[in-house]
């Protein structure tokens, strides 16, 4: 990693050059909600003027640049009696500007799941390798809990990361590509007081978190509380809409669909992001549903996010951005659900006389 300091105006020139020459996406305000709060999304940008540098958080994550909502996995063409299969892993280079630390953490987690596992995914790798990521730090929203998940700071997974130290950005440069581009602009090596300002900035960010979720021993609590009434309680609110998984930066479950082309001369195999909250997620042939109730399905989302799965060494994959909590119309959010579970657990611990074979 190489550290540099760049004046904000110079940084603007740098981004202008980059955004002009490449297909780029960055935060843009799309709406103002009924409470007067600005709503942002990652959308196409072509100059630094398009980028809302002071944005809070985007409603949807940047996940779909790597895991599109719908993606063709392979294509079949039929000849007289037979068929051929074609697969391409092609991806066009893009620039993603303005990602937050937790957003980049989410990408690192996806890397872990999709590249380091037993079967690495070339589709994902192609997109990941062709994306130039510029991260920018920010002050948390009142409901962000990425600090609880230790994802409020980041040291890998980006090309360059900018920390706002007043007039300048403190740049962490993590790729030769970024370094070469930046050579053309005016930067300097950090002085002592730049370092101080960086430390101060980090402290401010760290101290600004208002939401905390106690995740100690959460995986085992989730195992123990598998049959907890908490699931039914929250499950009863759930609309089975899958919104939470769609906006989440790490939810990656999917469905595969295959269909003939209209001219019947070929077929396409497509992957479609799915959500474990949708009713047929665990339904098999013959109609048996392994998770028939809202609560069962909701529980699995928490299970996956906070307990982790064997394939990714049982690590939690939630980064604490609370996008799902903000987007859920039913008001279901990780903080409340997890606290509820803990309370359940604690009440059963203090009430020792209750059924000993509960665990």
């Amino acid at each position: 990693m190489i550290y540099k300091v760049i004046a904000k105006s110079e940084f603007k020139r740098f981004t202008d050059a980059l955004l002009r020459d490449n297909t780029s996406f960055g935060p843009r305000q799309v709406d103002t909600d009924s409470r007067g709060t600005a709503v942002y999304q990652f959308l196409p940008v072509s100059s630094s003027d398009d980028v809302a540098f002071d944005y809070t958080a985007t409603a949807s994550s940047a996940k779909h640049f790597f895991l599109p909502f719908r993606e063709e996995l392979s294509r079949f063409t039929f000849n007289d009696q037979e068929w051929d299969q074609q697969i391409t892993y092609e991806a066009n280079p893009i620039v993603l500007i303005g990602l937050r630390a937790c957003d980049i953490s989410a990408l690192n987690i996806l890397d872990d799941v999709l590249l380091n596992g037993h079967f690495p995914s070339p589709y994902y790798l192609a997109k990941r390798k062709n994306t130039f990521v510029i991260g920018i730090d920010h002050l948390p929203l009142p409901d962000c809990f990425c600090k609880s998940m230790s994802h409020h700071t980041i040291s890998t997974g980006f090309n360059v990361f900018c920390s706002d130290i007043g007039e300048d950005y403190y740049l962490s440069i993590n790729s030769s590509k970024a370094f070469n581009f930046l050579k053309e602009f005016e930067t300097r090596d950090p002085h002592d007081d730049d370092n101080c300002r960086l430390v101060e900035r980090r402290k401010i960010i760290s101290n600004s978190f208002l939401s905390e979720v106690d995740v100690t021993a959460l995986p085992s609590i989730l195992d123990i509380e598998f049959d907890s009434p908490v699931w039914e309680k929250w499950g009863n609110k759930c609309l089975n809409c899958g919104t939470c998984a769609m906006v989440c930066p790490t939810c990656y479950c999917y469905s595969v669909e295959e269909s003939f082309d209209t001219d019947l001369k070929g077929a396409s195999r497509q992957k479609k992001l799915y959500s474990c909250n949708l009713v047929d997620f665990a339904e098999v042939a013959g109609g048996h549903n392994f998770r028939p109730k809202n609560g069962d399905r909701l529980k699995y989302r928490y299970y996956h996010q906070h307990r982790g799965f064997a394939e990714n060494a049982n690590q939690q994959i939630c980064v604490g951005c609370n996008r799902c909590g903000r987007a859920c119309l039913a008001g279901i959010n990780p903080k409340d659900v997890i606290n509820d579970l803990r309370m359940e657990k604690e009440s059963c611990l203090t009430n020792i006389s209750s059924s000993p074979d509960r665990i």
Binding site: V30, D31, S34, K237, L239, M246, F260, V279, L329, A330
Partner: protein
């Protein structure tokens, strides 16, 4: 007429007929849309009877697309005759599946309506009914209008003997994939959370609330939905007006009233 051979499967063209009843004919019109694949789409079909498109008529068809709802006795008879011929009868569009906007007239006394619009005339009309009130429906393709992409897929599936399903998740799921700001965040009631997806959230993408033309999604959580409207202090009248718009939430409306 064999249109395609593949691995020993032979796909025959679909002998199809299209009939319109009480409606705006917008769903039939969709059949001629999606121009980029229209010629391939027409290749799939052996159109036997389609008054809007063709003068030629032939009553030997397997698949009948039924557009519109029923609002006159002679329509009921015509439909029953079609049912006798068709191997697969498809309720095509929201009017056919649920009654559609036409059902709004059922709120008003029939004779008063006639007197208002056709003063002094005898007009043959009856309360609006959906297709399945009268005959057995084999397949429903909802939408006001139907989504041509979905129609195309279903026709391909019919031709290739593939399984035909509609999405069983709500509109919200697709709405999020369009990166829309939720209508509820903008202070509007939206029926997306209880409505079957498959339209690509076209209404909310144009920033108007979903009115539920595709009917209830699978296992909808109505109590939670009502609670969410109440909690946000949104107008229950507005909710009722929206749920009644296409008559697609009939069972839930009564239940609420």
């Amino acid at each position: 007429m064999i249109s395609m051979k593949y691995q020993g499967f032979t796909f025959e063209k679909l002998k199809i007929a299209s009939f319109d009843f009480t409606c705006c004919e917008g769903c039939q019109l969709q059949l001629a849309n999606r121009e980029s694949s229209l010629l391939d789409f027409l290749e799939l079909l052996d159109i036997r009877n389609f008054r809007e498109l063709s003068t030629e008529k032939n009553n030997d068809y397997d698949i009948a697309l039924i557009e519109g709802s029923l609002s006159r006795e002679d329509e009921v008879e015509r439909l029953q005759a079609i049912r006798r011929q068709a191997k697969t009868l498809i309720a095509f569009g929201t009017c056919a599946c649920f009654g559609g906007v036409n059902s709004l007239k059922n709120k008003f006394p029939l004779q008063e309506s006639v007197a208002e619009v056709y003063p002094g005339m005898q007009i043959d009309t009856m309360p609006v009914r959906k297709i399945s009130d009268v005959v057995k429906v084999d397949l429903s393709i909802p939408g006001c209008p139907v989504n041509k992409e979905e129609v195309e897929r279903i026709m391909v599936h019919l031709a290739t003997g593939s399984l035909i399903t509609l999405p069983n998740y709500p509109v919200c799921f697709e709405c999020k994939a369009q990166l829309n700001t939720c209508m509820f965040e903008l202070g509007e009631i939206c029926l997306g959370p209880i409505t079957r997806g498959g339209c690509n959230a076209v209404c909310t993408s144009g920033k108007t609330p979903c009115l539920g033309c595709r009917g209830p999604s699978e296992e909808i959580n109505m109590p939670a939905f009502i609670e969410l409207v109440t909690e946000r202090k949104l107008s229950p009248d507005d909710l009722q007006e929206k749920m009644a718009f296409y008559n697609a939430f009939e069972e839930f409306c009564d239940h609420e009233a």
